[in-house]
């Protein structure tokens, strides 16, 4: 049950980030389109290093639950500035460059936590699948349903509001 909830919660939150990040940066920082593109492009490479590193540590200690909680906490801390900075309009209007650096760094931290939580969640869900015989796909599909419901509406709304180049 916990892994069904894990996928529902993870993907409902993730779908917001996936669609909005570029638009958000454009609105609250002075970053150019190239800089935003570079930032988004660096995510996969960072997560490629972070994921195996910390997952191997979780394996070594056999503390997968603990590491999953930690990674979610890192994700929460990382993305917190995205919910805070917009309230300080004076700050991001007077110091858009500082805002860009803070958000870019925070984004990397949050994304690292997110990637780690994703991999740990997958391996734990697969473990649960073989423990009780539930097909992995049955657990995983809850994430897709959640993603479908949230991102469909969100994407439609964002794409209506923002130029597509920023989203892609």
């Amino acid at each position: 049950m916990i892994f069904y909830l894990h996928y529902i919660l993870m993907t409902s939150g993730l779908s917001g980030v996936g669609v909005l990040l570029a638009v958000f940066f454009k609105h609250y920082t002075d970053a150019s389109q190239g800089e935003i593109g570079l930032l988004l492009m660096s995510f996969p490479f960072v997560s490629m290093i972070i994921k195996p590193l910390f997952c191997s540590m979780a394996d070594r200690c056999q503390r997968h639950k603990k590491y999953l909680i930690y990674s979610l906490a890192v994700e929460l801390i990382g993305y917190a500035p995205f919910a805070v900075i917009p309230f300080f309009s004076q700050f991001y209007q007077d110091h858009p460059r500082a805002s860009w650096y803070i958000l870019a760094l925070a984004c990397h931290v949050g994304n690292a936590g997110l990637g780690l939580a994703w991999s740990l969640g997958d391996s734990l869900a697969m473990n649960m699948s073989q423990k009780n015989g539930t097909p992995f796909g049955q657990i995983r599909m809850t994430g897709t349903v959640s993603f479908g419901v949230v991102s469909t509406n969100e994407a439609a709304w964002v794409l209506k509001e923002a130029p597509l180049e920023m989203v892609a």
Binding site: I2, L9, M10, S12, G13, G16, V17, L20, F24, H27, M41, F45, M48, K51, P52, C55, S56, D59, R60, Q62, L68, I69, L72, L76, A83, P86, S89, G115, W118, S119, S123, L124, A125, M126, N127, Q130, G133, P135, F136, G137, Q138, R140, M141, T144, G148, V149, V150, S151, T152, N153, E154, A155, A156, W157, L159, K160, L164, E165, V167, A168
Partner: protein, 444 residues
């Protein structure tokens, strides 16, 4: 007709986050991040309160092992103590607690009187009690005592100080184990390439949306609405595919054929976008159909990735003797049974999340990143339809290459048949056994 139906644009599209994002007292785009933070915080609380047992890694073959152990115990009882004696004699050179195959009660006697002189006396007393009475029936009591005495003599040198020293010297075998698996199981490398390739092919999803947007713009369609429909199509097919993929994977179709099928689907998808979608006078809403391919292939590859990760991680059990020989694990002479079991368990579980993260890193990391980068560069030079043509050819080539590897039954193939007695043979046997266990679970 479909166009007439889909053309009217609802004023407030995006009734979940769309509506929330339009809350007047909150800054723009912030509610979506509130959802992210709230869902993360809620999950942390749930995880913290949840039963730890659900997060403990289990050995997929443990039930089988338990059954085997049960069968062994039953046959032991049937055979009487002659079997025990033979086993004891055969393992006399090993450590005391690590090799004695007595009942739990007997094991606790050894544990309590750990490697002390008292153990002989206590053992004699024990033998005179319940268990010994059964042994008398087979006339093996005397032989058993002498066998145990010889083990006692050889096992007494194992004091705890030595064990602590040895334990300190041992290194973490995790990465060594991973290297061993990569070296011995050629399929590991193949899967790394396959998943990286899929990540690469999955990356242009954003460019698909960009291309569809340009078509909508040219022909005067509502792209926002179409994007929503494409996502519904993608997510619904993906959900269905997640539901049926494990069933197909374990019962009907081999893993390699599903991978081939996934590549074929992607080839058709890119072929569709590179063909008449951009040139013909058709509705852009056909892209809804095109995104089926992405949803289907993604679910198939994700399921296979999880299965393969588990399979590769479980292969670590086959390298325990080698790790022991190389000194990464304690040897049977210097460790107690509990220590050996604990070490073996830790080796079996050493790569469960690591392999998952590694393969995911290649797929959604290297593959996706490289794909986005290369597609971004290509789109600067070519048109969308040309880009999809290039990607379509790459996908078809990947599909052909993968199937060729499978047909030739090379060392990277899932259907190869290595000679008996080799580690490769054991790896293939283990894969079959794991598949049988999964199938029986699903049938059950």
């Amino acid at each position: 007709m479909i166009n007439n139906f889909l053309h009217p644009v609802p004023k407030q599209y995006g009734f979940i986050i769309g509506q929330i994002n339009e809350v007047e007292f909150l800054p723009k785009y912030v509610p979506a991040f509130f959802i992210l933070l709230f869902s993360s915080a809620l999950e942390i609380v749930l995880l913290a309160l949840w039963n730890d047992g659900d997060f403990e890694m289990v050995d997929p073959l443990s039930k089988e092992a338990q059954l085997a152990a049960k069968e062994t115990r039953n046959s032991d009882e049937e055979l009487g103590t002659e079997y025990q004696i033979q086993e004891l004699m055969a393992t006399a050179s090993s450590s005391l607690a690590g090799t004695l195959k007595l009942s739990t009660a007997a094991a606790s006697v050894f544990k309590q009187a750990h490697l002390s002189d008292e153990i002989g006396k206590r053992l004699e007393v024990f033998m005179d009690d319940g268990e010994a009475s059964r042994q008398e029936k087979t006339g093996a009591k005397q032989s058993n005592k002498s066998a145990i005495s010889s083990i006692l003599e050889k096992g007494l040198h194992n004091n705890e100080k030595e064990l602590a020293g040895e334990k300190g010297k041992r290194r973490n075998p995790q990465w060594i184990l991973l290297k061993m698996i990569l070296a011995q199981d050629g399929r590991a490398l193949k899967y790394i390439i396959v998943f990286t390739m899929y990540g690469f092919l999955h990356a242009p999803v954003n460019f698909v949306f960009l291309g569809v947007e340009s078509v909508c713009h040219e022909r005067g369609y509502n792209f926002s609405q179409l994007a929503g429909c494409m996502m519904i199509s993608l997510a619904s097919v993906e959900t269905l595919a997640f539901l049926i993929a494990p069933w197909f994977l374990n019962r009907c179709v081999s893993r390699s054929n599903i991978i081939g099928f996934g590549f074929v689907i992607m080839t058709i998808r890119y072929g569709f976008y590179s063909g008449w979608y951009y040139t013909g006078e058709i509705s852009p809403y056909w892209a809804v159909l095109g995104e089926w391919g992405l949803g289907l292939s993604y679910a198939l590859f994700c399921t296979i990735q999880a299965e393969v990760s588990l399979m590769l991680a479980n292969e670590s059990r086959l390298f325990i003797p080698e790790l022991r020989r190389l000194g990464y694990l304690g040897d049977e002479k210097s460790c107690t049974k509990e220590q050996l079991e604990e070490e073996e368990r830790s080796v079996k579980m050493a790569l469960r999340a690591t392999v998952q993260a590694l393969l995911d890193g290649f797929m959604s990391g290297l593959g996706f990143g490289a794909g986005a980068l290369i597609c971004g560069l290509l789109i600067e030079v070519y048109s969308y339809s040309s880009l999809w043509r290039i990607i379509c050819i790459i996908t078809a080539a990947a599909c052909l290459l993968h199937q060729l590897v499978e047909v030739t039954r090379s060392r990277w193939s899932d259907s190869r048949k290595p000679p008996k007695g080799t580690i490769a043979f054991e790896i293939m046997e283990l894969s079959k056994k794991l598949k049988e266990v999964r199938t029986s679970q699903l049938v059950g």
